[in-house]
């Protein structure tokens, strides 16, 4: 079993991961792994063939290229969704996470997989990720430090939609219809 970082927003810890990420559809038949995160396309194929993957033991991972708009109703009922970062420089996953959390009200575990590195974890957490499969060749204990880099955030995001300007000292000045 490998390890992941799980965060509550207040604190984060390294835990043994019960989930197995199926990168290759052929791996679906791999024995010994009850919990699987399968590719979105594979999951769709299963549904189309009338099969119901185990509700508690199936998660789905999305590639930034996947068109999942039409399947959201079922997707957000899953216990776990993962978003793949083919490269840490591909920022589409941040917007996808934001949309899943805010627009689609997904409340399950949202995991970053792929090229997941310490220096991006803070931003990922702000966009709604709460678990992180740090790239296997990196020290996960070192990566954990990436979640606590900043205590001040200017803008609203998934973790806190209220921007700093509404919390600053003068934020209570009367406002209605005020024009500069």
């Amino acid at each position: 079993m490998s390890q992941i970082i799980r965060s509550t927003g207040q604190s984060a810890e390294i835990i043994e991961d019960p989930w197995y990420v199926v990168r290759d559809p052929a791996g679906l038949d791999l024995p010994g792994h009850a919990h699987r995160i399968i590719p979105f396309q594979q999951w769709r194929a299963l549904l189309e063939n009338g099969m119901t993957p185990g509700a508690e033991t199936t998660g789905v991972w999305l590639s930034p290229d996947d068109e999942f708009q039409d399947d959201l109703v079922q997707l957000i009922q899953l216990p776990l969704l993962a978003i793949d970062f083919p490269s840490f420089r591909d920022g589409r996953g941040y917007s996808i996470a934001y949309l899943l959390r805010t627009r689609c009200s997904f409340t399950g575990e949202l995991r970053a997989i792929g090229d997941v590195l310490r220096d991006q974890l803070f931003y990922m957490q702000r966009c709604g990720f709460n678990s992180f499969a740090v790239r296997a060749d990196k020290d996960i204990h070192d990566a954990l430090k990436g979640l606590t880099t900043f205590s001040v955030k200017y803008q609203g995001a998934v973790d806190d939609p209220v921007p700093l300007f509404r919390k600053r000292e003068q934020a209570t000045l009367p406002d209605e219809a005020w024009e500069p």
Binding site: D119, D142, P163, R168
Partner: protein, 554 residues
């Protein structure tokens, strides 16, 4: 000027700690070159031809005298005693050692400055009119909203790995001086018939490899929706902008592919979900920020004092001062005051945009002695002292002359906008500085330059177009042909509300031919010019043909 509170300062300090740790891990080998690259870029650190380059942010081009002294100190301590002002109102230091960058950032932070997001595929420094707050023709001061947008974009978690860099410019005047139509997002502030503050939003402008003038996608957006609307644009871009080809990744390519109308519809659909969310601006926040930009304590001058302050009489026997008044001094909204542009384009003695640490200190002193301690950087790479008493103009001119910063050439042929080019930049295909200096060397007669009048000339060392050659009346682009430097010439570019892209006149030239080419272009202009007509108008009237014919005549 905006002053940091404890939130701003804590955020900046934590950013420096993060960066210091990243540099340490890079030097220790636990962070690879590839992993470190975007991290250092988003802290303004480039790797150039000879050394690292640090680009320090000057938000919307505004500096205090103290900040300018800090930059002078950085130039002296960690560079070779000078800095280079850029067309995006920032400053670059070209001879930096990577190990020193965290220390430099700490020094900057003491003066409430930083280098955050001056590079990388994220939202860059927000730029605006160098005369914001003082220009006689201003409708709305763009600085409060520019600062609000700076804070929103700083360390924005969702938009740090965009398909490509993202530049935003704002302007609140009838005549645009911020090149808003050549930005990824350009915002015009204006007042509607009821006096309410509104935004007109343009998207998809930009120069570079594929020069495009931005399209209006939203009219009459109430100012409170600034952040949510910009967020909607960024989200559409982040999701759908191309990532397969670096040269097709700017938002302008997406806007072109979808068409401005469909792009606008996508943004509206996204914005409908964000409208009136907590990111909607409040009057309280506007007032908090705007208070930092309240007018300084101007003296109210009596008519008699105003008459005394008028430098016109003094200028009668001083032709050089007269020239300087005509080109470098600009009308101010307060009677008895003026704004002054200090030219960083003296000609052969210094490349465009470069000034020494000693000059920076002198400018800081003048800002305090003759103004209210503020300095601006213009996108033409010059410095502006926004609030000078008219009665002090002569004294300032004398001092600026001694420091080599009083060349009376603002807006003239030798006020050349140029990138650092092949002498420094690793992206460049050709050098720009020697070309600028060869042209400045050919046209040294100031009387003649003044007769020629307004004429913009922009020189780029590569098609990334940092020096905006497409919108120069005369544009020069360095290209590489089998390892040799060649220069392509465009004519007819314009900035402002009627921004226009120049057209290539024909085959490119060798470096040594360029001064002759420019002279021939000027010859055609003077031959056909109506009295007092600016170059761009003559060109519009004549078309390119007579220029081409003369330049390429056997």
């Amino acid at each position: 000027m905006y002053q940091y509170d404890h939130y701003d300062q804590i955020l900046l300090n934590q950013r420096i700690e993060q960066y210091r740790d990243q540099v340490g891990r890079y030097l220790a080998g636990t962070l690879s070159e590839e992993e470190f690259l975007p991290l250092r870029l988003q802290n303004g650190v480039y790797s150039q031809r000879h050394a690292y380059m640090l680009r320090v942010a000057i938000p919307y081009g505004t500096l205090s005298a103290n900040q300018l002294r800090t930059l002078a100190e950085i130039g002296e301590t960690w560079d070779k005693g000078f800095g280079h002002f850029t067309t995006r109102q920032n400053i670059q230091f070209n001879w930096i050692r990577l190990e020193n960058t965290p220390g430099i950032m700490e020094r900057l932070a003491q003066a409430q400055m930083h280098a955050i997001q001056t590079s990388g595929n994220c939202v860059r420094n927000i730029t605006t009119d160098a005369f914001a707050g003082v220009a006689a023709d201003e409708v709305m001061d763009p600085r409060p909203l520019a600062e609000i947008l700076r804070q929103w974009s700083t360390l924005n978690p969702e938009f740090a790995f965009l398909p490509r860099k993202f530049k935003i410019a704002m302007s609140g005047t009838a005549t645009d001086r911020a090149v808003v139509r050549a930005h990824d997002i350009g915002i015009h502030l204006y007042r509607d018939e009821n006096g309410a503050a509104m935004l007109k939003v343009l998207v998809g402008g930009g120069l570079g490899r594929t020069p495009i003038i931005g399209a209006v996608i939203r009219e009459a957006l109430p100012w409170r929706h600034l952040i949510t609307y910009v967020e909607a644009v960024l989200r559409v871009f982040n999701r759908y902008g191309r990532r397969d080809n670096k040269y097709k990744a700017r938002i302008k390519i997406l806007v072109q592919a979808l068409g401005a109308e469909r792009f606008a519809a996508e943004v509206e659909q996204e914005w409908a979900q964000l409208k009136d969310s907590p990111s909607t601006l409040t009057g309280a926040e506007y007032r908090r920020v705007a208070a930092f930009f309240d007018p300084p304590p101007y003296e109210e001058l009596e008519d008699a004092e105003l008459e005394d302050a008028d430098p016109t009489e003094l200028a009668q026997n001083e032709p050089e001062f007269r020239r300087w008044l005509r080109r470098n001094v600009h009308p101010h909204k307060i009677a008895g005051y003026a704004s002054v542009t200090l030219s960083t384009k003296p000609g052969l003695s210094s490349p465009p945009g470069d000034i020494s640490s000693a000059q920076m200190r002198a400018v800081a002193n003048w800002a305090e002695a003759y103004g209210f301690g503020e300095v601006r950087v213009s996108h033409e790479q010059n410095l502006v002292l926004p609030d000078i008493r008219q009665s002090d103009l002569y004294a300032l001119w004398e001092e600026a002359t001694r420091q080599g910063l009083a060349t009376a050439n603002i807006g003239l042929l030798t006020d050349i906008i140029a990138c650092p080019g092949g002498d420094f930049c690793s992206l460049a295909n050709a050098r720009s500085i020697p070309i600028a200096q060869a042209i400045q060397g050919r046209f040294q007669d100031l009387d003649y330059l003044h007769d020629l009048g307004d004429l913009s000339l922009n020189i780029n060392g590569c098609m990334n177009a940092c020096a905006h050659h497409h919108i120069g009346n005369i544009g020069i682009l360095g290209v590489d042909k089998n390892g040799e430097e060649w220069y392509q010439v465009t004519l007819g570019g314009r900035q402002g509300m009627a921004a226009t892209l120049g057209k290539v006149i024909g085959p490119s030239f060798r470096a040594e031919q360029i001064p002759d080419v420019i002279e021939k272009i000027i010859t055609v202009f003077t031959r056909h010019r109506h009295p007092g007509e600016p170059f761009s108008e003559t060109l519009l009237r004549l078309g390119l043909e007579p220029f081409k014919a003369h330049v390429y005549a056997q």
